[in-house]
Symmetry: C2
Subunit: 307 residues, 2 copies
C-alpha cells in the first residue's frame, strides 16, 4: 500500500525483518494450509526457518484438534513440528481452566467436541460429556433440568451438536453464583473454499452470552492468553517475534495487542483493501488491525531462506 | 418515585389518565398472568375497561401461541377477548412476511414452532417444516447441505429444537444474495417463577445474526411494527392510547417509540429501581425506558372502574 504503514515484504526488507526476529508464530488455516490443502511452499518455509535457528510456533483458534492431531496433520504435510510447538484453543482452553481458573480435579460443563474433551482430560479436568444432548418427550421442564452439582465452569467451543438443550443447561449453570464462563474463541464463521462458510464458535458463544447476560473469558486470538502462555513457557522476547496470519481481526490484532511485529498473508480471509479500510478509519481500535507487512503467500519468504 | 417523571397511578390521577385514553394495550406475561397463573383482578380490569367503552388489545413477544390459542387461554381465565384483539409475534411475523416482504404464496426457512407454522399457513406462506433437524452420521458436508431453492426468507422465532444444523442451514440461505431475514423478537430470556429463566428467542437470533454477519428485521416489541399493524387495522389515536407492561426494554420502550402513554406494572420483570436507574442515566436512549406511570399491579386500576 503506497504511503501506508503496511509494506510489502520482499528483497532487502525481507532479510532485515527476518534477521530482526528469532521467533515466528503462524496461524494455520489460510496461512500454511487451506482445509486439507497445504499452501504451496509452506513446508519449506517452516523447515528452513527452523534450520536458520528460528523458533516456530503455531497458534490457531480452531478447537476441533488436539496438539497431537495438529502435529500429525503437519507431519503428513511435510512440516517438522513437535506437539509442544502447537497452541490450539482446545489445548489453551484446558490450560487456562487448569492454571488460571484452578480447576484441576474439578468438573466443567462442556459445549465442545472430542478434541476439547481429550485436552481437558490431559489437564486433569473432568467434564460432563460431549455429543448430542437432545429433547426426550414433549413436555420439558427446561428451568429444572438435572444439573451436576460439581460443575464449576461452563466451557464453550466448537460443537456440531449445539442445541437448545445445551444452551439451556449452560444458562442454568451460569445462573448459579459460583460458575465460571470460558470460551475458546469468537470467530463468527469458519471460511471454506469458494466463498463458502459454516457457523463458527462465536455464534454459539454469543447465544450463551445473550442467555447468561454476561461475557465469557476467551483464550483464542485476539485475546493475549495464547501468546502469553507460549511466551512464558518458551521465554519469547516479544520485540523479536513475528506473528503471521490471514485475519486482521484475530491474528494481526493479537500481534498488536502483544507488541509483536505483524505480517498479513493474502492466502486466506482478509484482503489488502480490508487493511487499508482499517488504516484510513482514523479509529484507534481499528488501527491495531493494520499489519506491519504483507505478502501474497508465505512462500514469498523463501528467497531469504535459501541455503 | 419522588421528583421523578414516573408517577404512581392512583386516586384522581388514575381517573384523569383513564379518561384521557380510549385504547389500552396490555402485555401478557407478567401483566395479566404469570405463566399459567392469572394476576388477581386482571380479568375484572380487562372486562370493565371494555364495559367502560375502552378498546383493549394484547401485544406479546411470545411466539409459541397463535391468536386462537391466546384467546382460548384468556377465555379460560375469564377475560372477554376476541382473537382479533391479540397481537402475538407468531401472528405479527406472518403478516409482516405477507404485507411487508410480499411473500404470500412463497416459502420461508423456519426456525420456529408449531404456532408460527400455523400463523404462516393462515397468511398463505409456505415453510420448510418445524421440529428437529439433526445430524445423521459423522461426516457432514455442512457448507453443502441440501437447500430448498424456493426459500425467500429465513425466519427465527422460539424453537426448542434449535440446533447447529438449523443455524448452519440459516447461514447457507442467508449467504444467498436474495434472502430476507426476519426475527420475532430479541428477548434474551423467558423469566419464570422464583428467579428462574430459560433462554429466549434473542439467543437464537443472535447466533444466526453472528453467523450471517447481518441484522434481522424484528416484529416484536420494541419494534414499532406490532403497534403500527394494530393502529392501521383499528384506527388507533396514539395520543389517546396507553401501553401497559412489565418490561422497560420492550413494553415501555415500544410505548415511547410510538408516542403512547406508558404504564409499568410491578408484577413482572422490571422494578422501580430499574426505571430510576434509566431516568438518572442522562442517556437519551435509556430515558425512553422510563414509564409515565407505575402501579403495583393492574388490579390497582379497579377503583376507577367500579360500576
Amino acid at each position: 500500500m503506497s504511503g501506508s504503514k503496511c509494506s510489502k515484504l520482499g528483497g532487502i526488507l525481507l532479510k532485515q525483518v527476518l534477521d530482526s526476529v528469532d521467533t515466528v508464530l503462524f496461524d494455520c488455516d489460510g496461512v500454511i494450509w487451506r482445509g486439507d490443502q497445504v499452501i504451496s511452499g509452506a513446508a519449506d518455509v517452516i523447515n528452513r526457518l527452523k534450520e536458520a535457528g528460528k523458533r516456530v510456533f503455531f497458534v490457531t483458534n480452531n478447537s476441533t484438534k488436539t496438539r497431537t492431531m495438529y502435529a500429525e496433520k503437519m507431519a503428513k504435510m511435510g512440516f517438522k513440528v513437535a506437539e509442544e510447538e502447537v497452541f490450539g484453543t482446545a489445548y489453551c482452553c484446558a490450560i487456562y481452566l487448569k492454571n488460571v481458573c484452578q480447576l484441576q480435579g474439578k468438573k466443567v460443563y462442556l459445549i465442545g467436541n472430542p478434541a476439547m474433551a481429550q485436552e481437558l482430560a490431559a489437564a486433569g479436568i473432568q467434564q460432563t460429556g460431549e455429543g448430542p444432548d437432545l429433547i426426550c418427550g414433549q413436555q420439558i421442564d427446561w428451568a429444572n433440568v438435572p444439573l451436576d452439582p460439581d460443575v464449576k465452569a461452563v466451557v464453550v467451543g466448537f460443537d456440531q451438536h449445539f442445541s437448545y438443550m445445551k444452551l439451556n443447561r449452560a444458562l442454568q449453570y451460569l445462573i448459579r453464583q459460583d460458575c465460571m464462563f470460558v470460551g475458546t474463541n469468537r470467530d463468527s464463521r469458519l471460511p471454506l473454499e469458494g466463498g463458502k462458510a459454516v457457523p463458527g464458535t462465536g455464534c454459539l458463544l454469543q447465544a450463551v452470552e445473550t442467555a447468561a447476560q454476561q461475557k465469557a473469558q476467551t483464550v483464542g486470538k485476539p485475546s493475549k492468553f495464547m501468546f502469553e502462555s507460549l511466551a512464558l513457557q518458551f521465554g519469547v522476547d516479544r520485540e523479536r517475534c513475528l506473528m503471521v496470519g490471514d485475519r486482521l481481526d484475530t491474528d494481526i490484532l493479537l500481534g498488536s495487542n502483544c507488541g509483536l511485529k505483524t505480517l498479513l498473508t493474502l492466502t486466506g480471509v482478509s484482503t489488502l483493501a480490508d487493511a487499508e479500510a482499517h488504516e484510513k478509519s482514523g479509529c484507534t481500535e481499528r488501527q491495531k488491525m493494520v499489519p506491519d507487512y504483507y505478502v501474497d503467500s508465505i512462500a514469498d519468504l523463501l528467497p531469504a531462506l535459501q541455503a
